[in-house]
């Protein structure tokens, strides 16, 4: 019987993998991932209005222009956007106004001294200015005004400089476990996204795969031939294992595509400017310095168990649901609540970042079918200990074994049932057998 199980797993896996559609779908996924990782490069390659520089023309006296230019340039450098602007000094406002047209992005900033308000300004452009540029100009004008106010108050240059400098607080944590974890929130969010998003996608794929396969065998009555040769338990196991292996394989392929996409990005970037490759190195060093990598490696066995058994549990539930239905349409309707549970888990894992210490979210991290999305997130956010993650994995393993035991009873009854009359009664009856 072991040989038959092995053959059924292989046959089911071959049916999914050895098709031109699998190859085509993976080619498309690879292209999309490369595209997503390099989306900024693609957007820049095709260009657009965002690509052209905005000319800032300041009409004022020379002293005001010099001060404004210093402030504007430093603000745009802080916001890593200095390349998008040119700034120039002009005397004649009317002449500059006449030059405005729809081909060039030019913004005239007319700045005058005022007795009432220190400074008055008018911003003139041919078309709408984007919000980002607008905010940058207003921020620079306000800072210029503050400096002038400070100057008139009798403060010396050093005092004015000190006042103008933004506060840059340093964050110190006294928790010894967290002393090296500053500036790692963005990285944590990124790691969570990398873990959760593909898993969500893979589970969706898994449910469809197992459902359609069982439905096909059932509706063509080939199920009768198969089940007359192998026990339902072997058949059920083969379907679950093959589907889980398929999504694990697909998951590994997605990781490979992502790595390839990063390599492609590095090659493209090296050919232009060598900035992004440094950023990737920075990300890795932050991962190491923050201790996140070490934590993830320690928790990896639990995370793998949690994911693997969650895949198995979803496959079991879907297999049972598929055995109860007689068409793929019925199965799709019946699996909808399961999909809602999946979306619920995904949503909770996403909002867990904003609800630190939430008791409710922590409880859900132990609930099977949700835990694989929430528990790793909570662990990465330091809201769950390694021990708790282990407990969550253990609950998942026990849950999977229980639903296999009882699910198999329903499966045995369901796969040879072609009528929906008294379906629930039959299934509850089979649970008691």
């Amino acid at each position: 019987m072991k040989n038959k199980l092995k053959y059924l797993i292989k046959e089911s896996l071959d049916k999914k993998i050895k098709t031109k559609w699998f190859k085509l779908a993976n080619l498309i996924v690879f292209i999309l991932i490369v595209g997503l990782v390099n989306i900024d490069k693609i957007i820049n390659f095709f260009g657009g209005d965002f690509d052209s520089k905005t000319n800032i023309v300041v009409v004022s006296d020379e002293k005001i222009y010099d001060d404004f230019q210093n402030i504007f340039t430093s603000q745009s450098i802080v916001l890593s956007d200095s390349d998008n602007y040119t700034i120039a000094y002009k005397k004649d406002l009317d002449e500059e106004k006449e030059k405005l047209n729809d081909k060039e992005k030019t913004v005239i900033i007319n700045i005058e001294q005022s007795n009432d308000e220190f400074l008055k300004s008018q911003i003139i452009s041919y078309d709408d200015i984007n919000n980002y540029t607008k905010e940058l100009i207003i921020l620079s004008l306000n800072q210029l005004k503050n400096e002038y106010v400070a100057l008139y108050s009798g403060l010396n240059e050093e005092q004015i400089k000190a006042i103008s400098n933004p506060i840059n607080p340093s964050f110190v944590l006294t928790n010894p476990k967290k002393e090296n974890q500053n500036n790692s929130d963005e990285i944590k969010t990124m790691v969570i996204m990398i873990l959760i998003l593909p898993s969500f996608f893979l589970i969706t794929l898994l449910t469809q795969m197992i459902g359609s396969e069982i439905n096909e065998e059932k509706s063509t009555k080939s199920m009768e031939i198969i089940i007359s040769n192998v026990p339902p338990k072997i058949h059920f196991l083969a379907k679950i294992i093959a589907s889980t292996l398929f999504v694990v394989l697909q998951g590994i392929l997605i990781i490979l595509y992502a790595l390839l996409a990063i390599i492609i990005r590095s090659i493209i970037t090296k050919a232009t400017i060598n900035i992004d490759s440094l950023q990737i190195k920075d990300l890795v060093s932050i991962l190491i310095q923050s201790g996140l990598l070490n934590n993830l490696l320690t928790a990896l066995p639990f995370i793998i168990i949690l994911f693997l058994f969650s895949f198995l549990a979803y496959a079991i539930v879907c297999g049972v649901l598929a055995s109860m239905t007689t068409s793929i349409e019925d199965f799709q309707q019946l699996q909808m609540p399961l999909m809602i549970i999946l979306v619920f888990g995904y949503y909770l894992s996403m909002i867990a970042v904003g609800f630190e210490g939430s008791f409710f979210i922590k409880i859900t991290a132990f609930i099977p079918l949700l835990s694989f999305l929430i528990a790793p997130t909570m662990f990465i956010l330091n809201q769950m200990t390694l021990w708790e993650l282990g407990l969550s994995s253990l609950i998942m393993v026990i849950f999977t074994m229980i639903i296999f035991k009882y699910g198999l009873r329903i499966y045995k009854e369901g796969i040879l049932n072609y009528s929906s009359t008294k379906l629930w009664k039959k299934l509850f009856h089979s649970l008691k057998k």
Binding site: N3, E11, E216, K221, M223, I226, V230
Partner: protein, 299 residues
């Protein structure tokens, strides 16, 4: 030898099979007949172990049927039990492997049967691309590819033209000669008449007729008389024991209640001087079936 002893199966309060017993010897073809819903499919499912029976016993060569001996059984279902997205080769490989065959044997046997059924060129075609008749051939091939000891054929001639029906019959006869026990179910009773040595007729799960086909036909009281020539229709119709008389083409078909009324009919027929045919026949299986099933329903 397949031995079915007093098996019963009920779905809730409905008795699908009631105390059914029969035996199929090696190299024997057995007919399991009945109208739709008579309990045939339930019986087949119990034989191959898909359904648990409520009571009774089924053995093949003295062994209880379980997953250790299902490799010896071939089953052709009434509906097409083929995975239509697979090619013929993939389908044969799947069912062959499930019968514990090795790949080499499967391919060898497949080539032989495809050649025999003249569909070799479709070996790598998807089943859904084949005609109904060719799909039925594939279904038949995959049910016999492992040379079963017991073969269950549920409506095997569905979708076949007369030439292919003849080909199927030849193959079934060959399997019989090799010692395979065959259970056969068909609504086309002329096929059953040609094939089966023994049969059971089921009505609502109950056995209404059982035994050797020749004996059944012989023991059946009603007879048919075929007469060719001018006869006194009215006079014959009024004779005691005559059930009906009707003209079929250029012959008269006279149905009588019992064998003893033949001489009375003959007396009237011989009064005519142009009689070229007077033939007494047993009733056809179709008539016996309709009679027995009708009686059972009336009860």
């Amino acid at each position: 030898m397949l031995k079915v002893e007093n098996i019963s199966k009920a779905y809730n309060t409905v008795l699908a099979v009631d105390n059914l017993s029969f035996e199929v010897n090696d190299g024997e073809i057995f007919g399991l007949l009945g109208i739709n819903g008579a309990g045939k499919t339930t019986t087949f499912r119990m034989i191959i172990g898909l359904l648990d029976m409520d009571s009774g016993k089924i053995t093949l060569d003295g062994q209880k049927i379980d997953y250790n001996i299902t490799d010896k059984i071939g089953f052709l279902t009434e509906e097409r039990s083929l995975l239509t997205k697979l090619t013929i080769k993939q389908q044969a490989m799947l069912y062959g492997k499930l019968k514990s065959m090795n790949e080499k044997d499967i391919l060898q046997k497949l080539d032989y049967w495809l050649e025999r059924f003249s569909i070799s060129e479709y070996k790598n075609r998807k089943i859904k691309e084949l005609s109904k008749g060719n799909q039925q051939k594939v279904q038949f091939i995959v049910s016999i590819i492992h040379e079963p000891k017991l073969l269950i054929l549920d409506e095997p001639f569905t979708g076949l033209d007369p030439i292919n029906v003849k080909l199927f019959m030849e193959v079934i006869e060959e399997l019989k000669q090799k010692g395979c026990s065959i259970i056969f179910s068909s609504h086309q009773l002329e096929h059953v008449e040609l094939f089966c040595e023994k049969l059971v007729i089921l009505v609502k799960g109950k056995t209404v007729l059982k035994g050797n086909l020749k004996e059944i036909k012989h023991d059946y009281q009603k007879k048919n008389i075929l007469v060719k020539g001018k006869i006194k229709e009215k006079e014959i119709e009024n004779l005691p024991g005559v059930l009906s008389i009707k003209k079929v083409n250029d012959e008269y078909l006279i149905k009588i209640k019992e064998e003893k009324y033949i001489k009375d009919v003959f007396k009237v027929v011989k009064q005519s001087d142009d009689i070229t045919k007077f033939l007494v026949e047993d009733a056809s299986l179709n008539e016996i079936f309709l009679d027995k099933v009708g009686e059972a329903y009336e009860k």
